[in-house]
């Protein structure tokens, strides 16, 4: 989540409301001025709260820089401190604006509830925001994301969809993702990625094809992995092999990360930004797919048996000086 940019946009829009209608150029000028010094434009408790959340997220990003240097215990300690700090800032933000969607969402996520518990709480939060801010709507631009004040609620919805998928509620995940794609067709939050995995798990080939066409068949780590899983589950092995091959060729480190999953921390509040085709992309996709992969118990074994896949994984590992753990010892 790019909280700083959102804060600037929110403040500029609120100032414009005061000034009356502005030309596009004038609005851009205004945005530049806000960017220089956002705090000078904060004029109500709602924005004060949002600014606190933006600061907290910036601090969170910074505090993660040294994570690689920590051992497991130190990491867990640092993480706990980080989440406690985040929680405290969210509480502060909520004392200013009790319906600050991002503070409410981050507070829930930082509490480390079990995913099953989280589903219920996110459903409540979604209902609460709907009551406080009205239902999400596509708006004049055709995409709810264009209204920066709708974004916190959209993030809650996307988190709910991911948590539904995490708790094996794929029917719910599918309908929430489909709604999100209607509300916000440009899909900045990547509901289509959750949906791709969900359709693979539900073995819904027609649904998946529809989504793939909607994506212009451009593919990414989620889509390649979902297709491989879907074809494998449907027993269409030549197609499954082709999809797996595509995943291996087009997703940097994809083979490695499928055979050597690594810890990915809670998304705070949404999926981290990634470069298309990057190792991070494959890592996030494999992480989100994990419950579905485990539910298809021989899938990774089968993948590692496909010509070139294992070699590709080992090759990526060696070229990048990564660890290789014996899968039997995990």
């Amino acid at each position: 989540m790019n909280a700083r940019d959102e804060l600037i946009r929110r403040l500029a829009i609120k100032r414009r409301r005061q000034l009356g209608s502005l030309s596009t150029e004038a609005f851009e000028e205004l945005e530049l001025a806000v960017r220089e010094n956002p705090s000078a434009f904060v004029e109500d408790a709602e924005e004060e709260a949002f600014a606190l959340v933006a600061q907290a997220l910036a601090r969170l990003d910074e505090s993660r820089h040294d994570d690689d240097l920590l051992d497991d215990e130190q990491f867990m300690q640092a993480r706990a401190q980080r989440l406690a700090r985040l929680e405290a800032t969210c509480a502060q933000a909520l004392s200013l604006d009790e319906n600050c969607g991002d503070a409410l969402l981050l507070q829930l996520l930082a509490a480390d509830h079990s995913p099953d518990e989280l589903v219920g709480r996110l459903l409540d939060l979604d209902a609460r925001l709907e009551e406080a801010c009205g239902p999400l709507a596509t708006g004049a631009t055709g995409d709810a994301w264009a209204d920066v004040f709708s974004r916190p609620h959209l993030r809650v919805r996307a988190a709910l969809a991911r948590t539904c998928a995490d708790t094996a509620r794929f029917g719910m995940a599918r309908s929430i993702c489909e709604d999100l794609l209607t509300l916000a067709p440009f899909d900045h939050l990547g509901a289509r990625l959750t949906l791709a995995l969900t359709l693979a798990r539900l073995e819904d080939e027609d649904g998946f094809e529809w989504l793939d066409v909607r994506e212009g068949r451009k593919g990414n780590a989620w889509f390649h992995l979902s297709r491989a899983l879907l074809m494998y589950k449907l027993g269409r092995m030549p197609a499954a092999r082709r999809a797996l091959n595509g995943y291996d060729r087009l997703c940097t480190g994809g083979a490695y990360i499928l055979l050597q999953p690594i810890f990915v921390d809670t998304y705070l509040p949404d999926r981290p930004a990634f470069e298309p085709g990057s190792f991070l992309e494959a890592t996030l996709a494999a992480h989100e797919a994990e419950p579905i992969i485990v539910d298809t118990p021989d899938f990774t074994w089968w993948a590692s048996e496909q010509p070139g896949f294992y070699t590709s994984a080992i090759g990526y590992c060696e070229r990048n000086g990564l660890d290789w753990r014996d899968p039997n010892a995990m």
Binding site: S114, P115, D116, V119, G120, L123, D166, T167, A168, R169, F170, G171, M172, L202, E203, K233, L234, G235, E290, P291, V294, D295, T296, P297, D298, F299, W301, W302, N328, A329, M330
Partner: protein
């Protein structure tokens, strides 16, 4: 009704014995048949039997060892039971190269992965179907239309029904839920009375696919008369419960849980334990309807539903919820005992599993 290997062994020899009797002298035949039970139990070799019958007897004995004795055996006994069981299956195949039960049971042990076993079953299915259907049709065409002929025809088809039922179960375990549904539909067409209880596997697969309509059609549609019991078997209840939990209808899920607890003895304990049993290699274990064992068995097969999803305990989202809800209905002393048992089991598993889990 599941398949009971001992009973089927008895039925096979009984049918053959009856056919060998002189039908022109009913009194004599009745008198002779009165000796059958004793001879079956003690002087089996004096009864007429084909190589197929002999092979099936070995299969039934192997099934007794592997499916019914092994789960209760010590490590040492277990090794013997397995070896003996496999020797019996080898011998069965020497007697009857088309003893599909033996072939399938051997393959269950010989194939290293679910995937490999599933592929084996898929490759063999058509031949097994053809052979068994031919045998059945031959019996129906040449026999009188009496009960015995119908039973013999029924028995001829059973190896195929067990084959396809196993195939469907394996598909479910492999995460191939649509294939599991398709296979149960094929099986139910061949066996409209569902003597293999394939609808139980279908119910679990529909729950995995979150296809409530599919489940309703299976249970409420024109085929609802199949089977001799209402749809309150534990497979169907667990499938419905999983569906309710998946749509976050916790009220409905709790109601179904209460129904399980009302219907099955010691249900709460079983729901807390959630023991995972090995699948029966002959067929789904034959247990009494509405017994504690039946729920234990269904819970074990429902592992695919219980253990799915992320949860901090690694037990699966539905598994944790079920255990938590069921635990609330139990006194503290019982929970304490269950926890101690679980701990002891985990320790035992840990010591015998030092190579690490798969």
């Amino acid at each position: 009704m599941a398949f009971d290997p001992q009973r089927e062994d008895y039925q096979r020899l009984g049918l053959r014995f009856a056919r060998s009797l002189d039908t022109s002298n009913p009194a004599e035949a009745t008198r002779a048949f009165a000796t059958f039970g004793r001879r079956f139990a003690r002087e089996r070799d004096t009864l007429p039997q084909s190589d197929g019958d002999r092979a099936f007897h070995l299969v039934a004995t192997a099934a007794k060892h592997i499916d019914y004795e092994l789960p209760f055996a010590t490590d040492e006994e277990a090794e013997n039971l397995i070896q003996h069981g496999h020797a019996l299956l080898d011998e069965a195949l020497q007697l009857d190269a088309r003893c599909y039960d033996a072939m399938r049971m051997k393959a269950a042990a010989d194939n290293p992965s679910f995937e490999a076993f599933f592929s084996f079953l898929t490759e063999g299915a058509e031949e097994v179907r053809r052979t068994c259907v031919e045998q059945r049709d031959h019996i129906l065409a040449n026999g009188e239309s009496d009960e015995r002929t119908l039973l013999a025809a029924d028995i001829a088809l059973r190896p195929y029904l067990r084959w396809i039922a196993t195939q469907a179960e394996q598909a479910l375990i492999c995460g191939r839920n649509r294939e599991a549904v398709r296979l149960t539909q094929v099986g139910l067409e061949a066996d409209p009375h569902d003597s293999a209880d394939m609808r139980f596997t279908a119910a679990l697969a529909y729950a995995k696919l979150e296809d409530e309509q599919g489940l309703d059609a299976l249970l409420l549609g024109p085929t609802a008369t199949r089977g001799t019991r209402p749809a309150n078997d534990p497979w169907t209840l667990l499938a419905r419960l999983a569906l309710a939990h998946k749509r976050y209808d916790l009220r409905a899920a709790s109601d179904l849980l209460a129904e399980l607890i009302r219907t099955y003895p010691h249900a709460a304990e079983s729901l807390v334990r959630q023991i995972e049993l090995p699948e029966g290699v002959f067929a789904r274990l034959s247990v009494r309807p509405y017994s504690e064992d039946e729920l234990v068995l269904a819970l074990s097969e429902a592992t695919v539903l219980l253990q799915e999803g992320r949860d901090p305990e690694g037990r699966g989202v539905l598994g944790v919820w079920l255990a938590g809800q069921a635990a609330q209905t139990l006194p503290r002393a019982v929970l304490q005992m269950l926890a101690e048992q679980a701990e002891a089991n985990a320790r035992a598993m840990g010591s015998s599993n030092q190579d690490g889990p798969r």
